[in-house]
């Protein structure tokens, strides 16, 4: 295991620190609350000459991702950061980055989408682009944000897929925490040198990138992309294994917290998972078998693995920090339900949509969710989708 340095960092600072240590060839970015600091801090590194990066201060997020695509297609290691409307403005280019199989890494600070305009956390931005072809990794805190960024570079380059690492707006992005970071040299060694296979600046082999792909080829290329996403699962686990050897911290596709013997489980992503752990500890002290499953990787969605992890639980609440506007459920709940159905597991699943626009999620609310789960085991019925913490 490598030496670890204990420092105090906000989520944004942690992500910027990881970017400094990764030292990408190009960063193209546009500021947006609450992600602004990431690129602002990074611009400082560029100004001080502590990174080799060419920083492109573009005029929009659409151009940010377009420039990232140009730089990655040219053969570079490329990163950016954004949030909310910025991610929405990028949406067109996110699909293109993935379709061109460019290993770009994006730090996204989850924030509600307009309208009404709001600058605080929910997951509607990231969920909006869940099918864009990006590996999506959620972080519970600043430590995970740092660790996920370092791992994302290798996941992206090994899978030839872009990766988005998310934190929760303000809750993680602006919350100061004690985290452990690696020495610069260790990160440099871990991410290694990027050697692109085909790239624009290779004049020995001029290539055309982004050709018109009609009925006779498009489907095959999309099929390959889908397969790459499926195959990124073992890559994510391999990289996590190497990272554990380095840092001592272990990561998987999801985290199980006191889940193995649990009667009732909450499925929650991001910072709410941390809040839920506190509630689980309290309930366990009272002798109640509560557990948590925290998806880390939302794309590719680890359906079989999650269904397997939940197979012995009697009742499940899935927490969605975004809504699908009258789809069957919120996006996380839809995935979990489908995963259990495929395993032939017919369990009580209650969906809670919560925390939209940064509405706080309190310990007692999560405790109430567990209470409902225990009541449901005793036969009490609940609505399929519930809105937690809203005035109605």
């Amino acid at each position: 295991m490598a030496k670890l340095n204990t420092v105090a960092r906000t989520g944004n600072e942690a992500m910027a620190e990881a970017m400094r240590q990764i030292n990408p060839d190009v960063v193209a970015a546009y500021p947006i609350t609450p992600a602004t600091e990431i690129v602002q801090i990074f611009a400082g590194y560029v100004a001080d000459g502590v990174v080799d990066t060419e920083f492109v201060a573009v005029e929009s997020e659409h151009s940010a991702m377009s420039a990232c695509i140009g730089a990655a297609a040219a053969g570079g290691r490329v990163m950016t950061g954004t949030s909310s409307q910025g991610l929405a403005l990028m949406a067109e280019m996110l699909y293109i980055a993935a379709g061109l199989r460019l290993p770009i890494v994006l730090a996204d600070v989850n924030r509600a989408l307009s309208s009404p305009i709001n600058i605080h956390c929910d997951h509607s931005d990231t969920m909006m682009v869940k099918d864009a072809g990006w590996v999506q990794i959620f972080s519970e805190n600043a430590q995970e944000a740092y660790d996920n960024m370092v791992q994302a570079v290798r996941i992206a380059e090994m899978s030839k897929l872009p990766v988005v690492v998310t934190t929760d707006g303000f809750i993680i992005s602006h919350g100061m925490e004690k985290i452990e970071i690696l020495d610069d040299a260790e990160v440099k060694k871990f991410v290694g040198l990027y050697k692109p296979e085909n790239y624009l600046l290779n004049f020995d082999r001029p290539i055309t990138i982004g050709a018109l792909d009609l009925q006779d080829y498009y489907f095959e290329h999309k099929r390959q992309q889908i397969e790459a996403m499926r195959k990124s699962k073992p890559v994510i686990l391999d990289v996590a294994g190497d990272y554990k050897n380095l840092s001592g911290r272990s990561y998987g596709l999801f985290e199980k917290y006191k889940l193995d013997d649990a009667d009732c489980a909450i499925v929650a992503m991001g910072s709410t998972a941390g809040t839920t752990k506190v509630v689980v500890d309290g309930l366990r002290e009272k002798g109640l078998k509560a557990g948590l499953l925290k998806p880390r990787v939302f794309r590719p969605f680890p359906a079989e693995e999650i269904a397997d992890a939940l197979k012995d639980v009697k009742a499940i609440a899935v927490m969605d920090r975004s809504d699908s506007m009258n789809a069957n459920d919120g996006p996380v709940s839809l995935e979990v339900k489908a995963a259990l159905y495929d395993k032939g597991l017919n369990k009580t699943i209650i969906n809670y949509v919560y925390g939209l626009g940064g509405r706080e999620i309190r310990l007692d609310e999560i405790e109430g969710v567990y209470k409902n789960l225990f009541d449901s085991i005793k036969g009490k019925k609940f609505d399929k989708v519930n809105y937690l913490g809203v005035r109605e």
Binding site: V26, D52, V56, E59, L201
Partner: protein, 305 residues
């Protein structure tokens, strides 16, 4: 400056066999620009006719590295390529001299891609942006654009019982680019290879952002006989409907002054898109168009020092 013989001796970098229409001016522009730039060139292309006809998978007409990602972002895409190059050169990983050229149609340049282009110019990337300006959205079937001239018949500003084609004058994009105070801005045409390749060579000899607005007759959208493409370009210059000039570090220079400025009607009457202008009741509109061309030309003459 390379002569025609030298240019013809070089390797063909934009190959034949692409799917452009017979008489397509965009393909002529691409070929001549790349011919002048040479093999050490990376091309970024906005979505549009040129990209569609030249890169139908698994074929490509491009013998130089080429990237297309979307419609409105050729400026930003080439910025990214050039940024990576700068980073690698600074890191000592790369030492070849490379040209960075973006192509966009008037849709991708005047309209949907204007922000991306403006940003790229303001940031000072060492790029050449070439607009192949055929004065409408030709790839989707001749819809009006910000480059469409007043009175032209397009599918979204059609000639009808009440309307007489596009009601507005086109925007002066070249003027907007000049306002960015970049080192080199020029207008050129299809039909004068020496003018176009010379301007490309001159642009590429300068550091920083460069822009050439190349007037491109489109036989399908403009509705003329395909063998007339080069003649249509030359007539645009002879009538001063599309003046040829360059602005080098802010200094205007008209690069072609017709000996005798021809009436624009001579050029318009060869094009189906202006057919309606020759009805007697539309004479005032035709006069307006001539008056606007005269005014623009006079203004340009005054800018030259």
């Amino acid at each position: 400056m390379a002569n025609l013989k030298d240019l013809a001796k070089g390797k063909e970098l934009f190959s034949g066999g692409h799917r452009a229409c017979a008489g397509c001016g965009a393909a002529i522009i691409a070929r001549q620009v790349i011919m002048a730039a040479g093999p050490n060139t990376v091309v970024a292309n906005a979505t549009g006719c040129l990209e569609v006809v030249s890169t139908i998978f698994p074929y490509t007409a491009w013998e130089v590295p080429f990237v297309h990602s979307a419609f409105e972002n050729a400026g930003a895409t080439i910025s990214g390529v050039e940024a990576l190059y700068k980073s690698w050169v600074r890191q000592g990983k790369y030492n070849k001299k490379v040209n960075f050229i973006a192509f966009g149609g008037d849709g991708g340049t005047y309209d949907i891609g204007l922000q991306s282009l403006s940003g790229a110019l303001e940031r000072g990337h060492n790029i050449l942006y070439v607009c192949y300006n055929n004065e409408a959205y030709m790839n989707t079937g001749c819809q009006r654009s910000g480059a469409t001239p007043k009175g032209a018949d397009t599918t979204t500003a059609p000639v009808g019982k009440v309307k007489k084609g596009k009601e507005q004058y086109r925007k002066d994009l070249t003027g907007i680019i000049v306002a960015h105070k970049i080192p080199y801005v020029a207008q050129s045409i299809v039909g004068n290879w020496r003018d176009l390749t010379g301007k490309v060579e001159k642009a590429l000899s300068m550091e920083g952002p460069k822009f050439i607005n190349v007037f491109q007759p489109c036989r399908l959208g403009w509705a003329y006989e395909p063998e007339l493409t080069c003649e249509m370009g030359r007539m645009a210059a002879d009538t001063c409907a599309w003046p040829l000039y360059e602005v080098v570090n802010g200094q205007y220079k008209i690069t072609y002054k017709p000996k005798e400025k021809k009436p624009v009607a001579e050029w318009l009457k060869l094009q189906g898109r202006f057919r309606h202008l020759f009805k007697p009741e539309n004479k005032p509109l035709l006069d307006d168009i001539q008056a606007a061309i005269d005014k623009n030309w006079e203004e340009l003459l005054k800018k030259e020092v």
